[in-house]
């Protein structure tokens, strides 16, 4: 039995966590994502599924609680917004370096500094290129609807445990605060301690039984070759992820001369911009990356022969556009249109920018 509800994106992140059998949420309040923890506290999942929900003293504590919980082989998560994500970056690097599964949500606001609480996509670099120190990547999912906010918590945990890597849901206040119809899934029971020990006993700190060696979860390797090997193992994993986990959607791309590339909330606007262009006889399409890492490089490469130009549309000064340029490798013109400070362009403004770039 599926249930349909009308809820905010942030609220269904919380419901998705409970329903997918999440074991623990640790967070610290920050606008525009506080509804996630507030919804969890209201739902009291500790009385139903046994899920732990804890308000930590800071984002640093939150991410390190996630570190501890992930070491236990449990499904743990946190959420924050940009300044809080910056504080979490050291912890995120440890999680990646220790090959630990977890889900993080960044409901991005405008920066730098305290910036603004309005929606932004200015944390693309931080999310996709690493953010913390060292050579690591996290899988980045970019939902563009409340339904995807809910579904990607499920998907996020699946991917996190499949690859033993952090998964980051990168969204913004527009998707987080927007109310939409969402189809909920039936409750999935949490794993018992015994099931966790059976499934993840090869690496997780579940308490060392006499039947196995102790599990030591660390990212430390002072010996040069050991450390090099550790990094090569991580990189090999990222290459598999690039081969297997690219997700994207296209709209009207089959016969397109030009495409817009946009993710998350900007993709919603660009859908309408494409319709508008088509009504004027302009053969415009939309590529919406759903995974930002891994980036749909092959799909862009595949489309290159048919294209006269690409425009990246972002709520930033131009971050994803760099990945598009890498994929295109100079074979097609790539331009950019972006707005800042929470200014959401209308479909008409996007189309005008496109015309300025390509139709003059």
């Amino acid at each position: 039995m599926t249930e349909k509800v009308l809820k905010k994106g942030n609220e269904v992140i919380a419901l998705g966590a409970i329903h997918c059998g999440c074991d623990g949420y640790f967070g610290y309040p920050i606008t525009p994502q506080s509804e996630i923890m507030e919804t969890l506290m209201e739902e009291k999942p500790w009385e139903t599924t046994g899920m732990v929900v804890l308000q930590a003293e800071s984002e640093i504590a939150s991410i390190n609680m996630v570190h501890g919980g992930a070491c236990c082989g449990k499904k743990v998560m946190t959420s924050s917004s940009s300044p809080g994500m910056s504080l979490m970056c050291e912890g995120l690097s440890y999680l990646a370096g220790s090959e630990l599964p977890c889900v993080l949500v960044n409901v991005v606001r405008g920066g730098p500094g305290l910036g603004t609480i309005q929606p932004s996509q200015g944390d693309y670099f931080q999310a996709v290129k690493g953010g913390g120190h060292g050579d690591y990547r996290v899988i980045v999912l970019a939902p563009f609807s409340a339904q995807e906010m809910y579904d990607f918590v499920w998907l996020g945990f699946d991917l996190a445990f499949k690859y033993r890597t952090p998964v980051l849901i990168l969204t913004d206040g527009m998707i987080g605060q927007m109310m939409e119809k969402v189809e909920l899934r039936p409750q999935k029971p949490r794993l018992s301690d015994q099931e966790v020990a059976e499934l993840y006993g090869s690496w997780a700190t579940t308490g060392k039984p006499t039947t196995r060696q102790e599990n030591i979860i660390t990212s430390l390797a002072l010996e040069a070759r050991v450390h090099e090997a550790l990094n090569q193992k991580l990189q090999a994993k990222y290459r598999v992820i690039e081969e297997s986990e690219v997700r994207f959607e296209t709209l009207q791309c089959e016969d397109a001369d030009y495409i817009l590339v946009a993710y998350g909330s900007m993709a919603r606007i660009c859908e309408s911009a494409v319709e508008l262009a088509r009504s004027q006889g302009i053969k415009l399409g939309l590529l919406r990356p759903i995974t930002l890492f891994p980036f749909p490089v092959k799909e862009i490469e595949r489309m290159i022969p048919q294209l006269k130009g690409i425009m990246s549309v972002e709520l930033s000064t131009g971050q994803m556009v760099e990945d598009i340029r890498l994929a295109v490798s100079g074979k097609v013109p790539v331009t950019f249109y972006g707005r800042l400070g929470g200014v959401i362009p209308t479909p008409q403004e996007v189309l005008d920018a496109f015309k300025t770039n390509y139709m003059k």
């Binding site: 623990g24 504590a61 912890g91 060392k208 030591i216 979860i217 990212s219």
Partner: protein
């Protein structure tokens, strides 16, 4: 008589606990870390909780603590062990969870995490090694460095006007409602080590009685960092550290 005739179970008067591994410790001769490790391992063995114990190592000399005990281990970022312990204990309420932290880790960079874990009354054990110096990074000033004490970042001695006062964090921790047992011990003599072991045992027993956080400071020596011999280090510790960090229980509830 052959040596084989002597090494028989009935003749054994002392034995290394099976919880300790056979790895050679990386600690300097005279360092307190090794002694405290041994005491923790013995308590785990005697309480028969090896399969239920999860340890969390800090960043500091004890980062490699995970090499020396046959238990499951997590390695935390600098100062954040209490946050990892919080989640671990809440997700596994029946396990015994302890952090092992130095003074830089616990009383400087990790002040917020230890304060709040203790204030929430997390049912964990905290072992706090106060050697008044940053051992691992080569002997810089710690929050617990004594007034006038020479370190590589206080080459003319710690000065109050520049560096403030030695932080008596254990006394602060004892003020928090969430802690049930707060004590300060040392391990420079057999008697002192035995008292510390008793404290560790009590702390582990507390943690599954849901009484709150148990916090054990061990005033320790770092002869390499202090640049004296192990024997001189112990003498210096008794003479200079103990007056500022007096031994004994501060709170037992």
């Amino acid at each position: 008589m052959d040596i084989k005739d002597i090494i028989k179970p009935e003749n054994i008067v002392y034995q290394k606990t099976k919880v300790l591994t056979n790895k050679v410790m990386h600690y300097c001769p005279g360092c307190s870390h090794g002694t405290v490790h041994k005491l923790i391992a013995e308590v785990i063995d005697e309480m028969d909780i090896q399969d239920k114990t999860i340890g969390i190592t800090p960043v500091g000399c004890a980062v490699f603590g995970y090499n020396y005990m046959h238990i499951d281990w997590q390695q935390a970022a600098h100062g954040r062990a209490p946050a990892l312990a919080t989640a671990t204990k809440r997700l596994y309420p029946d396990k015994y969870v302890f952090t092992y932290q130095g003074d830089g880790d616990l009383a400087s960079i990790g002040t917020a995490e230890i304060m709040h874990a203790c204030n929430r009354g997390e049912n964990i054990v905290v072992i706090f090694i106060n050697n008044a110096i940053y051992g691992m990074t080569g002997g810089q000033m710690a929050p617990t460095t004594l007034i006038g004490m020479v370190t590589s970042t206080t080459p003319y001695g710690r000065q109050v006007d520049l560096n403030g006062y030695p932080l008596k964090i254990t006394e602060l921790i004892a003020q928090l409602e969430g802690t049930c047992y707060v004590t300060r011990q040392s391990v420079q003599t057999a008697v002192a080590a035995r008292k510390t072991k008793k404290a560790i045992r009590k702390a582990f027993e507390n943690s599954n009685q849901k009484k709150g956080t148990s916090f054990i400071e061990v005033v320790s020596s770092c002869n390499s960092g202090w640049k004296v011999s192990p024997v001189q280090a112990n003498e210096w510790m008794e003479e200079n550290m103990f007056p500022v960090y007096p031994l004994g229980d501060i709170k037992d509830r």
